[in-house]
């Protein structure tokens, strides 16, 4: 491609038209293909800010079942937006095939082009390429599945009353983060199959359950541990799944609702694990693609100024002591890491050669593509965060040990600190560390059917204050006594929670 070709810019004003959007999409798509980005077909939808708020409040999906919490989200968004406290996102993109991207009608043509590059080619190729999305989500089926879910829940509301369904959904939502399989690969879901199998599943589960509970006449509690094998034999991390399959008292429709919440949680699970990479990838590509447009003379200087202005505010990282600081900005971290990988490939320094012998000097397109496909945030940072970037962002680590009166800076951006910082930062993106690790440990199937959960403590971090509330929800689903023990790695129980509360939760001696 010849630089600075004397071609006409696609647009000069700031207003957009459908023809212009089409023209930009064509050009950006062409360049993206030249760079080897593999995408789903795009479906670009122009919507109003009101519709954007709607989309916001149903977790970004074009359709979803009805629930008050989405209304709360909407009311909140509306209030903040009307008061000018927040701008709406420029775009929402949905991991579906075709990949649906929303563009707001209020945007200028520059913003529309930016969004097309960012969402329709950046995020889109990430959805299609990254191993987590490939494994866990089925882009072609999600819209159909949501439609099925929406209709099913509406039918349930008609049959059993809005309130009944709402209570159930409240409880499911409280445990939504524990409705995912972290390791086991799920079967791909299709809406048609779902509908067909739904009936037979209802019947099967009901009969299967009855077997389990029928043969177990409650006996006097026999406290000889080890006499009976535990049920489940292995601890189960997917609490909603366990309840769906084993709760004795749930109606078939309630199990189906649990399943719906679980499936949707599973669909969003990869997004939670790849935020830094996904945004970084999309920012990297909108930057690269639009610069290519500029090099070809297809956009004006004014266009570039406007674009760079939004680009730099998106990837701005306020320092830790700024009033705007709200954690590490995933856009900043992701974008810089992607650029950094390209730099290491194209212009490696001695330091890079020492730290990244495999990729220093390699083909940057191939290396970036491999990184995008085969990593999630945690492993991506662990693998690719370079000392140079740590210095540029001036990262430092603080150790907060509740048993000590002070905080301690235990690593900064220097030779001794690089590895520690990289490991800590990667660990911050490990969902397993962020959320308490809670698993179904045992069910007293021969006694009072108590469901025992275990919280495997990480670094001595206790459960938060809403634990009792969540247990109430769990109790509603399970139908019998529910118990949660916080357990240290050496097996001592630090604290127990129960619902309904027995003799008040006991502070066990450690």
């Amino acid at each position: 491609m010849s630089r600075r070709k004397a071609s006409q810019p696609i647009s000069t004003g700031s207003d957009w038209t459908f023809e212009l959007i089409e023209a930009y999409d064509r050009e950006i798509g062409r360049i993206a293909a030249d760079f080897g980005l593999d995408t789903y077909p795009n479906q670009i939808e122009i919507i109003t800010s009101e519709q954007m708020m709607d989309a916001y409040s149903s977790v970004g999906m074009p359709l979803n079942y009805n629930h008050w919490s989405f209304g709360k989200q909407f009311v909140d968004t509306e209030q903040n937006y009307k008061r000018g406290r927040m701008g709406l996102a420029y775009e929402i993109v949905i991991n579906s095939d075709p990949c649906i991207a929303y563009l707001m009608e209020e945007n200028t043509i520059t913003m529309q082009a930016l969004v097309i590059a960012h969402a329709c080619y950046g995020h889109n190729s990430f959805f299609k390429g990254n191993y987590l999305f490939r494994t866990w989500t089925d882009a072609s089926a999600i819209i159909d599945y949501l439609l099925f879910a929406k209709n099913y829940i509406r039918q349930c509301e008609e049959k059993h009353g809005v309130e009944e369904v709402e209570k159930l959904l409240d409880s499911c939502h409280a445990l939504m983060n524990y409705g995912v399989n972290r390791y086991k690969r799920p079967r791909p879901l299709t809406a048609a199959e779902e509908r067909e199998r739904q009936r037979s599943r209802e019947e099967y589960i009901q009969s299967h359950l009855n077997d389990l509970w029928n043969t177990t006449v409650p006996q006097r509690i026999d406290e000889e541990a080890g006499k009976y094998p535990r049920f489940p034999a292995e601890p189960e991390e997917n609490i909603l799944y366990f309840i769906e399959k084993n709760a004795p008292l749930l109606e078939p429709w309630q199990r189906e609702v649990l399943r719906i919440v679980r499936k949707i949680a599973q669909y969003f699970y990869p997004q939670k694990q790849t935020q830094v990479m996904n945004e970084g990838w999309a920012c990297f590509w909108h930057y690269t693609l639009l610069h290519q447009l500029f090099d070809e003379g297809l956009v004006t200087d004014g266009f570039m100024m406007e674009f760079l202005h939004s680009h730099s505010s998106v990837i701005y990282q306020p320092p830790f002591d700024s009033p705007y600081f709200n954690g590490i900005n995933p856009y900043t971290l992701g974008y810089h890491m992607m650029q950094d990988i390209r730099r290491i490939c194209e212009h490696p320094t001695d330091e890079d050669r020492e730290w990244f012998p495999d990729i220093a000097g390699s083909d940057w397109l191939k290396t970036l593509d491999q990184a995008m496909r085969n990593f999630k945030d945690e492993s991506f940072i662990l693998q690719f965060l370079s000392p140079r970037l740590i210095r540029e962002l001036k990262l430092f680590s603080i150790m907060d040990d509740s048993s000590r009166p002070t905080l301690k800076v235990d690593a900064i951006h220097n030779e001794r600190g690089y590895r520690a910082i990289r490991e800590s930062l990667a660990a911050q993106y490990n969902l397993g560390n962020r959320e308490p690790n809670i698993q179904v440990y045992n069910v007293n199937i021969r006694g009072d059917r108590t469901l025992a959960l275990r919280h495997y403590m990480h670094n001595g971090q206790p459960m938060g204050e809403s634990t009792d509330e969540v247990l109430k929800h769990l109790h509603r689903l399970w139908g019998f006594q529910v118990q949660l023990d916080s357990v240290t790695p050496d097996g001592t129980t630090v604290k127990s929670y129960a619902c309904p509360a027995q003799e008040a939760s006991v502070e066990a001696t450690a």
């Binding site: 990262l395 430092f396 680590s397 907060d400 600190g417």
Partner: protein, 431 residues
């Protein structure tokens, strides 16, 4: 390949259902906010929409999360002067959660969840479950609501109301009726003859006969075929008629004491009470007339503007207002056509000897004709003579005559609700 779709015309308000569910769930909170708004606001903007604030903890959705404590490492950007090994106190407010910076996103100002409800919604909450008691449907006269009902079939009408089955059935009947039974019989007989002849061996005579028979049949059939398959006459149309619905016409008399004994604050309370009443009536009843009567020593029927904003004042003769209302009822609102309601507000201070007249007018001329009479006494002191007199009236007309006392502005809304709360049909108030 990309598809570009313009969705701007698509359904907006997709979140309406969810929003309503949210409002329904937090009804108690919203009602409280509405109640507060009613006595905090000036009379003029009492019916505006409003802001509702709910404590964050009441609407949080609980999830399992880590609490404070334990050991954690956190990475921050933008280091300025820290070097490895620096130690410092935990920042205030952050609670030792995760060190500096966290305090800003855990800021204290976020404990409340605030949102706006529209004027419509505000009024909905304000007047929820209130009604004019003992309203009955009167008279069909002046009915403005109609219902369309089916009323059989007619032989004329517009094409879109054509009833096909009925029309064809009529045509069939006509055709049967108009063809001569004998003709059809004759045709059958001739046919049989013809078939019989055709069996016999051929001869010139037979051919002649067959031809003759055939001609005869043809003539007869032709005559019967002349009847049209469908005639204008057969067409049937669905008949729809407009049936007037009995309406519940009602009139509300607002009687306000503006005598000298009513202080400014008492008048303000009375006005607020009537504003509420007025808003409630306008909102919930389409067909309602309101008669405003203000009185000191003389009663005067006034318009809305004067009722709420005039400053005229004087002594107190309550019976003047009552007899005026009774006259208005007699001349303009015959009780067989109208549901009559009266709301009276006063400080209870009356000209000596007039209270007896009042109760006489009430029991003889007014209460027999009214559905409901609400008396509000606005006073902070002991009850005045009017109240004592009215207590007897209340005993005589327990259901129709209600009395309540308001001492300060905060009680207006609760009293209003008590007076107009929805009663289940046929239920009687406990004695």
């Amino acid at each position: 390949m990309s598809y570009i779709i313009d969705r701007r015309e698509n359904a907006k308000k997709k979140s309406t259902v969810n929003r309503q569910r949210f409002l329904r769930r937090y009804k108690q909170h919203i009602k409280k906010a509405v109640e507060e708004a009613i006595h905090d606001r000036s009379i003029r903007d009492i019916d505006q929409g409003g802001q509702v604030t709910i404590p964050k903890r009441d609407i949080s959705e609980p999830v399992f999360h880590h609490g404070e404590g334990g050991l954690r490492h956190k990475i921050f950007p933008g280091n300025k002067e820290f070097v490895e090994g620096d130690e410092f106190k935990r920042p205030e407010g952050g609670g030792g959660g995760a060190g500096q910076g966290k305090a800003s996103n855990q800021g204290e100002g976020e404990d409340e969840f605030t949102f706006n409800i529209s004027q419509e919604e505000f009024l909905d909450f304000m007047f929820e479950d209130l009604e004019l008691p003992w309203m009955v449907r009167k008279q069909l006269k002046d009915a403005t609501s109609f219902e369309t009902r089916r009323a059989g079939f007619t032989s004329s009408g517009s094409p879109e109301k054509l009833h096909i089955v009925r029309s064809l059935r009529a045509a069939h009947a006509r055709r049967i009726a108009l063809t001569d039974k004998d003709v059809r019989k004759q045709i059958r007989v001739l046919r049989k003859e013809l078939w019989a002849l055709e069996e016999t061996p051929a001869s010139p005579e037979r051919t002649e006969k067959i031809d003759a028979l055939r001609a005869q049949i043809a003539v007869l059939e032709k005559s019967s075929r002349k009847l049209p398959f469908l005639d204008d006459f057969d067409l049937r149309y669905t008949n729809l008629v407009r049936v007037p619905l009995p309406s519940s016409k009602a009139v509300m008399f607002c009687i306000m004491d503006v005598s000298g004994s009513m202080t400014q604050s008492v008048k303000d309370i009375a006005k607020r009470f009537f504003i509420l009443l007025y808003l409630f009536l306008n909102r919930n009843y389409k067909q309602i007339e309101v008669v405003f009567v203000r009185h000191h020593t003389h009663a005067k029927e006034v318009d809305e503007q004067e009722f709420f904003y005039s400053r005229e004042t004087g002594g107190t003769i309550v019976s003047s207002a009552l007899s005026m209302s009774a006259d208005i009822i007699d001349s303009r609102y015959p009780p067989e056509d109208w549901n009559i309601y009266i709301a009276q507000a006063s400080d209870g201070d009356n000209w000596d000897g007039d209270s007896a007249t009042c109760s006489k007018i009430l029991t003889e001329r007014i209460l027999p004709k009214t559905q409901y009479y609400a008396y509000v006494e606005i006073t902070t002191g002991p009850h005045q003579n009017l109240w004592h007199e009215y207590e007897h009236v209340h005993e005589a007309f327990e259901e129709r005559f209600a009395m309540q006392q308001i001492t300060d502005a905060g009680e207006i809304y609760p009293v209003f609700r008590r007076l107009f709360e929805k009663r289940t049909e046929g239920a009687h108030e406990p004695s």
